[in-house]
């Protein structure tokens, strides 16, 4: 035992701000070690922020936090204790990888702690068998049920024998049986490891009874810390005590309890054998129920048990696979507008428009429902739902409880006779929940509105007239709360549900995982091992994501085809028209000279100059040639005369090319004339353009080898940037924050698969250049390959760098696209050769990898250059990757703000 065990966890003066919002307000805590400490309170009181700070996932702003004998804000200490901490963040499986199987997830976490393979396998097997996950080890994490995700999360947290286990709301949204098993498992583990400290937060007050120590929080402050018994004191339960602590008012009557009332059997909603399948997964399995007019009917079950799917089928949002749903005796029909007017629906997440004000939200819905007394109805609802104080407030800025009231107001604005509410109160504090339920009871009792509500809170279920237990797509039992408790001979609704669940499926036995690997084996691999662990995981994920995979390979191929076929600058067979006013053999010869070339294609002759102008305007011809009436005569008598060629100059490039063609053909005509007349040729000297590297001067030969320069920066950089932004968006980046992974290990590990992908991509593009566009590789492939490797290293590093500055995948995509394409086009010499750029632009070009790669690739393909000529480019390219990766590592935050 460490002597200063009492101060192993010490928090003092901690304040945390998100912009102006105070999440934590000078928190002072002293937590015992080796105990189960619970943080209680509704959503948004600062529990997650505090746990994030204690584990070091979040950066401390003010105050001090000592964890395991040192300040967590001290980088050296944080690195030292990282392997002793395990953190399971809020949101089921948020730090897990849905594209990885159960075992692959565990292997990933094991790799981060450098465990040897034999040790890893022993540990994984022990954990899987203890949690009953062993039969599912090959299932993808994304396909697990809520309870299983939670167990897997725990397994991943326990893989490295932590001294401190931090669980943020591990049981939210999990069915009561899984929840009970979870706590049993935690107890078993603590028996096995008595020194293990467990910090856990929960929104379920009833769970807090079994904790050793409680920290009750409200609005960023700690309002109580101590043993549960001390908090409970004289009150009935912890929830009442907590409520008391917050309000310090006299306890009112428990509001919202529906007065018991005889409900006439007058079925409004009927489901018969209602079934919904998604592929081979049955989400809802022949569900039957009938709900009477004015009744509050509760659906109780865990996340993902089919509650929402059932409700969507009843609103007509989702067609059923089989069975029927009747509303007012008629089958639910999505196209029936009249039926929609009878239903008010409130979906699971807050689904109003956050960027509109409270009033605008109500107004929009009133207009869509065409409510005749619109303003009066809005005023009435604002009054009744207590929204008047928030008239102009943006919905997004409202506290959760008021958002829920607004959602309800919107759902009932058209006076529906049926209300379907999908988990309307998750995360709301107890008082707001009471207010909400009071409104529901009022609607049900006074306006005879039939209410169908789903919840995973037992306390809410108790307020319903009738309840139905749902699990894994099936309804297990149905009745009034009292009936259900009585029939299961249980003490509470929760016990009744658990007993029903236990009959339905055999629970896995609860045993603590026993790992026989002696004391800690020496970690292997170190930093390289951890980086490769990330590489392995990234590779599996990309390989299983068809969209990213297609983008990586098909994307470059498609763009290559488009660019090469589309940007070709060889123009020929241009349409032209002639206004021949001379109609002489000479004028016809002139026209034949032009029309006979491959550049031009004759169209019907013109009758007037105006017609020529019109044809030019319509884009039918690119050039009009006008020969004067005396053209033939003057040519014969060697008098000077003129030909007028009007060229469509709207597209400057095209216009200039046409002018060049005409000038050349004109010269040829004059020479031919001179030869015919036996005169000296006009041509007294020959000017021979020699197109080097590309004798026939086909643009494809220049274009095709240039294109990889832009494709190999854009696509690999975007993919790499998205992979980093994705971790941040999905939340799995927390694994990087709280494990011993360093910034460079994280970045390089994630980068490696994309370097490989980009290199394969180059091989594909090179094959296209050679076989599709018939441009042979004249130079040495080896120096080319080396240069390509360095180039894709540089471009993926560039993606990493941009990802450190963007927050979402979308921002990462567009920012990377712009930031990679623009400099490449402007400064690398893709369109304008580097030698023609201004000195400033040449400077930028020399700091941009594409300039060197362009020279390298074009040089190797068309100029036939070898090692000697390519070496400077290769050397320059080799510098970019390491430098950019280092800068990215410096910019990357190793903790959340």
């Amino acid at each position: 035992m460490i002597p200063e065990a009492a101060s192993e966890f010490h928090v003092a003066g901690v304040t945390h701000l998100y912009r102006k919002h105070v999440a934590l307000d000078s928190v002072l805590l002293d937590l015992p070690s080796g105990q189960l400490v619970g943080f209680i309170g509704p959503d948004g009181v600062g529990k997650s922020t505090l746990l994030g700070l204690i584990t070091g996932a979040k950066k401390l702003q003010t105050g001090t936090i000592n964890v395991l004998g040192g300040s967590i804000d001290h980088p050296a200490h944080r690195r030292r204790i990282c392997p002793a901490i395990a953190f399971m963040p809020q949101g089921l499986g948020r730090n897990l990888y849905s594209e990885l199987s159960v075992r692959e997830n565990l292997e990933f976490f094991s790799g981060l702690f450098g465990q040897r393979h034999d040790e890893r396998d022993t540990r994984i097997d022990a954990l899987l068998s203890a949690t009953g996950l062993a039969p599912f080890e090959d299932r993808l994490m994304g396909k697990l049920s809520g309870g299983m995700k939670q167990k897997l999360g725990l397994c991943c947290a326990l893989i490295h024998d932590p001294k401190l286990l931090v669980l943020d709301e591990p049981t939210t949204g999990v069915d009561p049986l899984s929840r009970r098993q979870f706590w049993a498992l935690i107890d078993a583990i603590r028996c096995e490891h008595p020194k293990l400290s467990v910090l856990v937060s929960t929104a379920y007050m009833e769970e807090a009874d079994s904790f050793d120590w409680i920290v009750a929080m409200d609005a960023g402050r700690v309002i109580f810390q101590g043993k549960p018994a001390a908090l409970k004191g004289q009150y009935r339960d912890l929830e009442t005590a907590y409520r008391q602590l917050r309000t310090r008012d006299a306890p009112g009557p428990a509001p919202g309890q529906a007065s018991v009332r005889q409900i006439e059997p007058d079925p409004v909603i009927i489901a018969r054998g209602l079934t919904r399948r998604f592929g081979d997964f049955t989400a809802v399995d022949s569900v039957d129920f009938s709900i009477n007019r004015g009744e509050i009917f509760g659906f109780l079950g865990s996340n993902g048990c089919g509650k929402s799917t059932t409700m969507k089928m009843l609103t007509g949002l989702l067609p059923s696979s089989s069975g029927e749903a009747l509303l007012f005796g008629k089958p639910v029909d999505a196209r029936d507008r009249k039926m929609r007017l009878e239903i008010g629906y409130m979906s699971q997440a807050f689904s109003l428009y956050g960027e509109l004000s409270v009033y605008q939200n109500l107004q929009l819905h009133a207009r869509v429902f065409a409510i005749p007394d619109r303003e009066a109805r809005i005023a009435e609802l604002m009054e009744r739902f207590g929204l008047n104080a928030h008239h102009e407030a943006l919905a997004a800025a409202l506290p959760l409880g008021i958002k829920q009231r607004l959602s309800l107001a919107v759902a009932v604005i058209h006076r529906p006779r049926v209300l379907i509410l999908d988990e309307p109160t998750s995360g709301v504090d107890p008082e707001a929940r009471d207010t909400f339920w009071a409104l529901l009871v009022e609607l049900s009792r006074e306006e005879s509105v039939t209410i169908f509500v789903s919840t995973h809170f037992m306390a809410e279920a108790e307020r319903c007239d009738r309840v139905s237990f749902m699990h894994a797509g099936r309804v297990l039992a149905e009745g009034t709360p009292a009936e259900l408790i009585a029939s299961e001979e249980a003490d509470s609704l929760e016990d009744a549900f658990i007993s029903v669940l236990e009959t339905a499926e055999q629970p896995a036995p609860v045993v603590a995982p026993k790992v026989d690997v002696g004391t800690k084996t020496k970690a292997t691999g170190g930093g390289i091992g951890r980086a490769l662990t990330y590489t392995r995981r990234e590779t599996i994920e990309v390989a299983r994501d068809p969209v990213r995979l297609a983008f990586a390979f098909l994307g470059s191929a498609i763009l290559m085809l488009v660019f090469c076929f589309g940007i070709t600058l060889d123009i020929d067979e241009l349409d032209f028209a002639v206004l021949d006013l001379s109609q002489s053999p000479e004028s016809r010869a002139y026209v034949d000279e032009i029309g006979g070339s491959t550049y031009f294609r004759p169209t019907p002759p013109l009758n007037s100059a105006a017609e020529g102008r019109n044809r030019l305007r319509a884009g039918d011809v690119s050039m009009v040639v006008e020969l004067p009436p005396d053209f033939g005569r003057k040519l014969r008598t060697a008098e000077p005369t003129e030909v007028l060629a009007t060229v469509d100059g709207a597209i400057p490039f095209k216009g200039e090319t046409v002018e060049g063609y005409v000038a050349g053909l004109h010269q040829t005509f004059l020479d031919a004339q001179a030869r015919e007349n036996g005169e000296h040729e006009i041509e007294i000297a020959r000017i021979e353009p020699r197109f080097r590297y590309n004798q026939s001067f086909e643009s494809i030969a220049a274009m095709a080898p240039a294109m990889p320069a832009i494709l190999l920066i854009m696509l690999p950089a975007i993919l790499t940037a998205v992979s980093v932004a994705r971790e941040r968006e999905l939340g799995s980046v927390v694994n990087f924050y709280v494990t011993p992974t360093t910034r460079l290990e994280f970045l390089i590990g994630k980068q490696i698969p994309y370097i490989v992908i980009a290199f394969l991509n180059f091989l594909l593009l090179a094959a296209m250049i050679v076989f599709v566009f018939d441009v042979p590789l004249k130079g040495d492939p080896l120096p080319l390959a080396l240069g390509v490797f360095f180039y894709v290293w540089a471009t993926t590093s560039y993606g990493l760098l941009i990802a450190t500055m963007t927050s979402s995948q979308v921002a990462a995509t567009f920012a990377t696209a712009i930031a990679s394409v623009v400099p490449t086009i402007q400064f690398s010499g893709l369109l304008q050769p580097v030698s023609t750029l201004e000195p400033g632009a040449q400077m930028i070009g020399s700091l941009w990898p594409s300039s060197y790669f362009l020279h390298l690739n074009v040089g190797a393909f068309t100029k036939g250059l070898g090692w000697e000529a390519l070496a400077p480019d290769i050397l320059a390219l080799a510098c970019f990757g390491p430098v950019l990766t280092l800068i990215a590592a410096l910019c990357l935050r190793a903790q959340e703000k």
Binding site: L317, P319, R340, Y345, S347, S351, Y353, E355, Q360, R367, F369, A370, L394, V547, F551, I558, G566, I567, T568, L569, I571, L574, R617, A618, K634, A638, P640, T641, L644, V647, G649, A650, I651, P652, F653, G655, E659, G660, A663, I684, A685, I687, E688, P689, F691, R692, N694, F697, S699, A702, I718, T813, A817, L831, Q832, P833, S835, H855, T862, K863
Partner: protein
Amino acid sequence: MQRLYSIFWLGLKEVMSLRRDWVMMALLVWSFTLSPVMEATGVANSVNNASIAFADEDNSPLSRALATAFFPPEFQPVVQIEPGSGPTLMDAGEFIFVVAVPPGFEKDLRARRKPEIQVLVDATAMEQAGIGANYITNILGAEIHRFAIGIDLVAPPAVDVILRSAFNPNRDTVRFAGIVALIGQIMWLTTILTGAAMIREREHGTIEHLLAMPLTPFDIAVAKIWANAAVVLVAASLSLTFVMQGSLQIEIAGSKGLFLLGTALFLFTATALGVFLATIARSMAQFALLVMLVVLPMLMLSGGETPIEGQPDWLQVGTLLLPSRHYMAASQAIVFKGAGLETVWPEFAWMALLGAALLATSLVLFRRSVAQLS
């Protein structure tokens, strides 16, 4: 009637939401102001500041006169190099053009022996090489000719060709690049705005909420289409007046109203494309990747970046199916050549046809995707 009313209000909600989304607003402003200005003034399409070297082995008055015939902005000052070093310097990318004047050039010319000047061209510099070689040939030819007339070697030519650049007498590239840039921005932004609005609705779960109201998927899509098209149309006309005509001094030859009418027709297609892509993408990130893969080729092949005549024949037929090509053609005819409706109606008809087809497809797909919401 009630349906139209709902669609109107739902669309107005889009506009109100957009006003508060400062990232999108910033993108909108940037796309219609700075971005097209940068594009219009940044890239000179024709020969510009080209690097040229002379390997002069003749060193006669004529050959020296030839070397002084090249001027900015088309050419950089001529650099004299060692004879024979041209290919190596070109390999290193120092020069695009190297003119080699053979020994005894002037003497051979006077003796009518038809001497030859070689112009080495780096053919990998696509845009500059072709036109630049023409320029150089013409400049050298004219200079030699002037010299020859001066010493009575040849008579002035009997026929002269007068080249007139219709619609763009000053060969101004800003006007062309500016309008093409504006059209590109219209296309990017419309697709992104509409698609993002669709996906946001789905990701925030508000789409279920809408569908539970007396609204059909058709109403929802149409509301998004009209609202986003209207926003882009307003932004585009402001940009046309204040940025194109105002700041870039671009002259619009035809009717501005007709151009905006064409734009409106095109927006109908581009918004439909946004809905379409949003329907097939499962998340915002996938949508972003898809937009890149679809919009970029559509723009590249529209005839704005390079002339349609440069595409292979089979592709020229294929790109007829791109609404962007018809929009580009109609816009160029109206803005540069002053064409009226009697000229551009076939392009308008194409756009309407393709837009209707795309919209119908995306509505069908959207309805199907809604049915599969889980």
